[in-house]
Amino acid sequence: MLELCGVCKSFPAKKEMVLADISFSVKKGEVVALVGENGAGKSTLVRILSQILRPDAGSISLDTVSFHEDPGYMKNRTGTLFSGESSLYDRLSARENIIYHARLNGIPKAKYEPDLKLLIEELSLSHYIDDRVSTFSRGMKQRTAIARTLITDPEFIILDEPSSGLDIIAKDSVKAIISRLKKSGKTVLFSSHSLDEILSCADRVIILHAGQIVCDSPVELFQSGRGKDITSYLRD
């Protein structure tokens, strides 16, 4: 289980806190959607969970193992897809990008080879897996980046806007992947601007507004129409 307690973050260039007193937990096998307008602090939270940024205050633990005490524990069990550009090496092929990430994380060849075959099939990468990334469209890059995130077979998966820049078919395959991860008992935290994706994939929705959690509810609340509309939380 992932637990965050009182996480705060600010940057010297900004006066306000980017994240203020963020506390929530994600159970094993749960799929949580992180929702918020641009600049709400989603990507900062993702970076903190990926240990790129250190929080100013608060604690984070995975399976009761604290971030500070054993940073490697969480790194070994987490796979992150960052938002924005797909962050791939242009002069390497898709396969080389994926394998490089697997090897950096200490995954042996015997383990990543069958997983790569599965991901190639699932994400329809077979036609361009050995082509250089410099020739790829945005969608092809995003699929490759998703495959790279999942090649380490992480227990806890963070996907920051995974369907950004993808066409309808590719968006469907992202939804299928999240569903597959959920079935296989993986814990997923994903941020998205797509209501359809949130409502069809998530078990729970956490809404961030101006660096604070304004809603943490089961997805059914939004599906049934009993609760407020998601966008209503984002308006001041």
Binding site: F11, S50, T80, F82, Y89, R91, R103
Partner: protein, 373 residues
């Protein structure tokens, strides 16, 4: 092991970059011999005869014939102001003389030492006049002085050429290729946003820096090998480009290997400096701009001790990075390579590389490196 994974990936990435292949292999191997070839197109001492204009104050048939017989292609011209005429580039030499009857009592030669052809003409004419008009019979009590150079004229010329150009070219090419490569590996990671994925992987930041620094050093040392290899081959087939004697005839393969070892530590230093700059810079463009002063500094440091003696150096200069390596390369060329200077150069350059490695580690550990505004 993870360091090796990074090293292997970075080298693969660099090998696939056509610009890097051109910068690290083709340019040092081809440009330097080409540059030397064009330098040899300048008139040498033997070519002075062609199109040389000499001002002579009045008709002096005997003198003019003597000069014409000795040097081909001389044109005699008249001028009332030889100094101005030569300074304006309208003549290469001026001759004034004192004559008593048919006998010449003295000569005054005007020339421009800032112009190579003027200086060469002066040397030739001066020598000709001295040998012809000096007393043919030496006095019995005259002291006999004989001068014997310790090297042939060709070897002297080659040594001078190589000791001037080799350290400078080695430093400039290795600095530019190493740093452009390491900037691509550091600032480029930020520009491509690949740094986030890299930092979220289970690998220490020190290993990341070490792997990338070593990979850039491989690129730099490839440029050094290409430069030395290109110069060895081209001067072997066209010794004229190095002044008449090839690099391999001046320095043995073992000596050239020693130069390579010295350069390895300079390359390591350039790589570590470039890594610090690349981690500070936000983009490849910013990083490249920031490395330019370092390349200029490397060039200045490598040429700083050129005027000095290749055998003697004030020990204080050996503490200056790059300049010490440049001195060692020159002394190796002269066949004197002192082991203590060699070791001091390696230690000093390694120490500076270590310092910049620590700076790079500090920069990568700072979170603001990633989101620097």
């Amino acid at each position: 092991m993870k360091l090796l994974i990074i090293l292997k990936k970075e080298l693969l990435d660099q090998v696939r970059d056509r610009r890097m292949i051109i910068a690290a292999l083709l340019m040092p191997a081809v440009i330097v011999p080409l540059l030397l070839f064009f330098m040899t197109l300048e008139p040498s001492k033997g070519d002075v005869g062609s199109k040389v204009r000499i001002i002579i104050e009045k008709e002096a048939v005997q003198l003019q014939n003597l000069i014409r017989e000795s040097i081909n292609g001389i044109q005699f011209i008249q001028s009332n102001a030889p100094t101005e005429t030569i300074r304006d580039g309208n003549a290469e030499l001026g001759i004034e003389f004192i004559q008593e009857g048919d006998e010449y009592k003295g000569f005054t030669l005007y020339y421009d030492p800032a112009r190579r052809i003027s200086e060469f003409t002066y040397v030739r004419i001066n020598s000709l006049l001295r040998s012809y008009f000096s007393a043919s019979e030496p006095r019995e009590d005259a002291l006999s002085v004989q001068s014997i150079p310790v090297r042939s004229e060709q070897k002297n010329s080659s040594l001078l050429t190589l000791s001037i150009i080799l350290p400078v070219f080695l430093m400039v090419f290795s600095a530019s290729t190493t740093m452009s490569s390491v900037i691509d590996m550091s600032a480029g990671e930020k520009e491509r946003s690949t740094i986030e994925t890299l930092l979220s992987s289970n690998i220490s930041r020190r290993a990341i820096i070490m792997g990338k620094t070593l990979a850039a050093s491989v690129v730099g040392i490839t440029a050094v090998a290409a430069l030395l290899g290109g110069l060895m081959l081209s001067s072997w087939f066209f010794p004229k480009i190095t002044g008449g004697v090839s690099l391999l005839e001046i320095s043995s393969p073992a000596s050239i290997a020693l130069m390579g070892i010295i350069m390895l530590f300079c390359v390591l230093l350039f790589s570590a400096v470039g890594m610090s700059i690349g981690l500070y810079a936000k983009s490849i463009k910013e990083g490249t701009i920031l490395t330019l002063p370092v390349i200029v500094l490397a060039s200045a440091l490598s040429s700083g001790l050129i005027a000095g003696d290749p055998y003697l150096i004030d020990p204080i200069f050996l503490t200056i990075p790059i300049a010490n390596a440049s001195f060692v390369i020159r002394s190796i060329l002269y066949g004197s390579g002192s082991p203590s200077a060699f070791m001091i150069s390696i230690i000093i350059n390694s120490m500076y590389a270590g310092l910049f490695f620590l700076i790079s580690t500090y920069l990568l550990k700072r979170e603001t490196v990633i989101n620097r505004s």
